[in-house]
């Protein structure tokens, strides 16, 4: 199964988004959170992102979903073409679309495409 890693400025935001995604997509989907700096502050940590990638990686690739600024830059630093890929998507909607598709056993390219589609989701129309 493709793994999902959430890279956020906030540890709480990453952890809760991961919990939300698992509650919708199923507990067996490997969703790992990498939020905040290692010492509990707001920001991004390469070490935490690398740990989360190792935790979520089952050998089928990992999709990174980042929130803002340094999260995006940090995620871009750890990308590995074809294996660890950053999605350019809204944080919550992209994560859920990716997790549901990963849970169905889809390969990394399809999980990325599903996350990409989330950019066009409308909520009120």
């Amino acid at each position: 199964m493709v793994g999902i890693v959430l890279v956020s400025h906030s540890a709480g935001l990453a952890a809760e988004t991961a919990a939300l995604a698992r509650s919708i997509a199923g507990d067996d989907v490997p969703v790992a959170a990498a939020g905040g700096t290692g010492d509990g502050g707001l920001g991004a940590s390469v070490d935490l992102v690398e740990q989360a990638i190792r935790a979520a990686d089952q050998g089928d690739g990992v999709l990174l979903v980042a929130d803002l600024g340094s999260s995006v830059l940090t995620a871009r630093l750890v990308e590995e073409p074809g294996r660890v890929v950053l999605a350019d998507v809204p944080f919550v909607e992209g994560t859920i679309a990716a997790a549901v598709t990963a849970g169905a056993g889809a390969p990394l390219g399809q999980v990325l495409a599903a996350a990409d589609e989330a950019r066009g989701f409308r909520k009120c129309t």
Binding site: V46, S70, L73
Partner: protein, 213 residues
Amino acid sequence: MDTGFFVTWLRDAATRIRLQRDRLTELDAAIGDADHGANLDRGFTEVCKALEDWPPTAPAQALLTAGTTLIRRVGGASGPLYGSAFRAMGKALQDPVTLPGFAAAFEAGVVAVERLGKAAPGDKTMIDALAPASRALTAAVEKGLTPYEAFHRAAVAAEEGSRATIPMRARKGRASYLGERSVGHEDPGAASSALILGALAGVAVKEATKEVD
């Protein structure tokens, strides 16, 4: 320019960032999240420690150590950006270091920042200080100027570039969320870039003084 030159540059940059930490944080409070001064101070303090713990034996190694430390320790956007810049510079730098070699390596560092941040000149980012500095270095090489004169011109170009971000509207980074409200403030990343270039010019003065002595 030997290994000691680069270690002194990085240490002096750390000192200047520490002295200007509150100004950088104030600039960032206006259009960002008020952590640029503290983040960079922490990162460069760690760089100084790393240079003591693993004394570099070549100029490129000093830059690679600095880059890796900044990527791992800063926690804000400036960590990956400056970290990638120093690493790209280190990878491009040939020993012994000449001014043309330095200018080419510096340009490689600026390209790394542009690639990672996807920022272009005029976006109100550190590129607006780094790109003019890189052009000043290249121009100095073409004119056959001394390293002292070249670094002085690069520092002036970075300082002018940083001040030129004041009327710009941010198109990258956290400040871009503010739209028009980002106008009228100097970009903190451009300001810290000017400090790092200022340190380079300062070290070149020290070296030139040694030669005169």
